[in-house]
Amino acid sequence: MALLEIRDLTVEIATPEGPVAILESLDLTLESGRSLGLVGESGCGKSMTALAVMGLLPKAARAHGTIRLGGQDLLALPEEALCRLRGRRMAMIFQEPMTALNPVKPIGQQVAESLRQHLGLARADAEARAAKLLDRVGLPQARFPLGLFPHQLSGGQRQRVLIAAAMACGPDLLIADEPTTALDVTIQAQVLDLIAELVESEGLALLLITHDLGVVAEMADDVAVMYSGRIVEAGPATALFRQMAHPYARGLFAAMPQAPGSGEEGGTRLATIPGRVPNPAERPAGCAFAPRCPHRLPGCAFEPPIEHLADAHWVRCLAPRRGAPAP
């Protein structure tokens, strides 16, 4: 049985004009010890998926479907039971390490808190564990005592503190929501290496949310590409990167900057996908990507079919690979 199983998840937000679906019949599966990259532009529902798993959707949102963590249906659980799971079995780290730490509390206390809450450790024990955890994420006590305040640390160091806090109770599932977006490029690699190392050694399942395909290529075993509240292409990372089928996935791939000498000619303009993700309330009928798609067909105004390309690699497109270079 998979650790995390999302089946037919739909999240609707009540608006004065009626409910608007921001996630539509989402299916995701994540096994222990594996990592799943969830890719897409801002506003396509990646973070909403994470919040739905954590049970922290905004009050106006309603979720249908099932989200199972180790066989337990999270959507059916009452708030108190979810509180016991959050931080204990599933943890999350955020995009902005500058604001995700409480500015008036020393870092040691912030790491120790969930140990005290979930494992019932005494203050001294929890602090000793916190010191070990910080050491583990590359913040040795000699230079980074527990009494430091967040403002005394750099962005990368703060992200390490948050990772230590997330890992404190030995969760089964780690959700990383754009964990490196706010960091310098050189620090990004270090933080990603740290996460990869922890996933490896602790046997965690990692749900990595990002818009950076480079990060996904490096970190993820499986990839799901989201567009406007739906998964448009999913599969094992190797298969997907060998041949991207959905025009949106290819567009994202083409929009990655290439380093000089990487085979691409320097001086070419960075490719973009014209337009932007539609507001969920004004999503077009049929394929939501059609208005921005360079290869659209008249049939795209209807619900796109799902085509299975190889085992576990599928795409939601009327004419996948149309206009794509041959593999």
């Binding site: 959050r86 999350m92 902005e96 008036v104 040691g108 809450q117 009494g147």
Partner: protein, 284 residues
């Protein structure tokens, strides 16, 4: 313990804040006088000696005597303990009811928020001192009733400050991070919201403390607060005004006590705010 470093650093830096030092010294001076007055005064404030009335400063009466021959220094000391006692309890009442109400409103939102805030508006709609006069007029003048009257009008002040501060904090990412770590509303309020608005509450607390002293003096001046024969600063002012040209020190001294204590408290509040906020500490 390593975690105490923050507090220790704040105390170590306290000497650098001039507002904290001066305000703390003045407030500490009045507080120690008030405490001393509970156990000892140079003379009894209830003992009249008409033959010694309206004397100037002397070795037996350091600040002179009033029109009943009572020792002015002793009266000011007892007045200090009166004023501070009333203000402390009034602020405590405001904190004890206002902070939970404001925190609840911010955490729950919805109709609970509406009810709490409309109740607040209702209480705010009446001028506080006027309502205090009304309450003491209805329930009878006296120390306890003036404490209740002043305290009740501290509740909406603290509720509003707490709610305002808490509302903006609930939007912060570290509160989301705390929820992700499995903390419930109550726990987040205690562990994350309250420590972050502590500086707001301390500043508001010292302002309300100073206003409490003023309100007590005002009520006593009107004869609705502390009742004779117990002396209070407000009552001393009221009695002195008929003799303003005969013995101006009778009005000047309690007036000075009120001004200095209020000033000291305000300075202390500012100093404390600077010291307790790690972000401001970094900026210096």
């Amino acid at each position: 313990m390593a975690i105490k470093v923050g507090l220790a650093a704040a105390l170590a830096e306290s000497g650098k804040s001039r507002a904290f030092v001066i305000g703390g010294a003045i407030s500490g001076f009045f507080l120690s006088i008030a405490l001393l007055a509970l156990v000892w005064t140079p003379h009894s404030v209830f003992q009249m000696a008409i033959r010694e009335k309206l004397q100037g400063p002397s070795w037996s009466h350091l600040l002179g005597t009033d029109h009943f021959g009572r020792d002015l220094l002793s009266m000011l000391m007892v007045g200090a303990s009166n004023s501070i006692g009333v203000a402390v309890v009034a602020v405590a009442v405001g904190l004890a009811f206002g902070v939970p109400l404001g925190a609840l409103a911010a955490a729950k939102r919805g109709w609970i928020d509406e009810v709490v805030m409309r109740f607040n508006d209702f209480a705010f709609a009446f001028p506080a001192l006027l309502s205090a006069v009304m309450i003491t007029a209805v329930f009878g003048p006296g120390g306890v009733n003036s404490i209740i009257a002043i305290g009740i009008f501290n509740i909406p002040v603290f509720a509003r400050v707490t709610r305002g501060g808490a509302l903006s904090l609930w939007q912060r990412e570290y509160v989301l991070a705390a929820r992700v770590a499995g903390k419930g509303t109550t726990r987040i309020t205690i562990e994350h919201i309250l420590p972050n608005i502590a500086s707001l509450l301390i500043v508001q607390g010292t302002i309300q403390f100073a206003l409490g002293i003023l309100a007590e003096a005002g009520l006593s001046y009107l004869g609705l607060g502390t009742q004779p024969p117990l002396p209070s600063w407000g009552k001393m002012l009221a009695e002195a005004q008929t003799m303003l040209f005969l013995a101006p020190q009778l009005a000047i001294l309690p007036g000075l006590a009120i001004v200095l204590s209020v000033l000291g408290l305000n300075l202390l509040g500012d100093g404390l705010r600077d010291l307790l906020d790690p972000r401001l500490r970094r900026a210096r």
